[in-house]
Symmetry: C2
Subunit: 171 residues, 2 copies
């Protein structure tokens, strides 16, 4: 199947948000989505964007059964690692189920990798659920190391309540 | 012990780099540090900084046995989470061994939490080694959830060779 990949614009934000929610449903974590569409659109395409993104498009004749031609999304931003230097974090990589197996996911991943190298980033990281063996296999096949398994890193998260409590007591 | 915490400047970069290397030695991972001091200084205090940071200082009369008065560092940057919104990632939180137990680590953590809330960030994340029960206890005591344990997230990392290969084949 033919597809094209290009940087997303504000006009893509509806399609992107639809796919982000599809991904959350797929991972049985829709209840973890506390962001609103309006916030998402502002965060991505307002005056000071918090992320960059690519979308994958198919021709009209290959549209999905619901009529969508935007069928994949990658959302990423720049991070830092005090031991390695500049880095990219890939927060979302998603291809609609009926469009898998055509290389769209690999295409999106490769475009983000290309940006990473152009910006002199040394590493690209992302997180997957441990039980998602399909995704883990996909990333491993393209050269990713599972550093949770290899080095034993554990992610700690502070959410609103604990952040507020800490902030309130800041010296 | 009295201490003060303030945003770091370029003049602090030598002290910061010294403590980043101490932390790597402490975690027995000095061989993972591939960044140079010159790159670090440029990344933090050049024209387009990749991170923000705080340092903790003690009075001259409390200097370390080697004569240092800059005894703690926090290094962080802004990230994004497509389910939660804007976020902060804390890449380094370190206090020199002989200055632990005085609340300096909590002070640094609280200042970053305060920045996070001022910038409307919903979450703050960091990574610790699974076997570092002291650090895990410290973060848990201040309200962090271990999402590697709780939700089963695994971090995947692409390094230079796999990034180059992907980038080379980008559509």
């Amino acid at each position: 199947m033919n597809f094209t990949i290009r940087p997303a614009t504000k006009a893509d934000s509806n399609d992107m948000w639809r796919m982000i929610k599809e991904l959350a449903i797929h991972e049985k974590k829709l209840d973890k989505v506390t962001l609103s569409y309006e916030e998402f659109e502002m965060d991505g395409f307002g005056q000071k964007p918090s992320f960059e993104s690519f979308v994958a498009k198919v021709p009209e004749e290959n549209k999905s059964k619901e009529g969508f031609t935007t069928v994949g999304v990658a959302l990423y931003f720049y991070t830092y690692n005090s031991w390695k230097g500049r880095a990219v974090y890939l927060d979302v990589l998603y291809v609609m189920t009926e469009f898998r197996g055509f290389g769209i996911g690999k295409g999106l991943l490769s475009r983000v990798a290309k940006v990473a190298r152009e910006k002199s980033c040394q590493i690209m990281e992302l997180n997957v659920l441990g039980h998602n063996s399909q995704s883990r296999g996909f990333y491993a096949a393209h050269g990713a190391q599972d550093i949770t398994v290899r080095e034993g890193w554990h992610t700690q998260r502070f959410e609103e309540e604990s952040l507020n409590k800490l902030a309130h007591n800041a010296p």
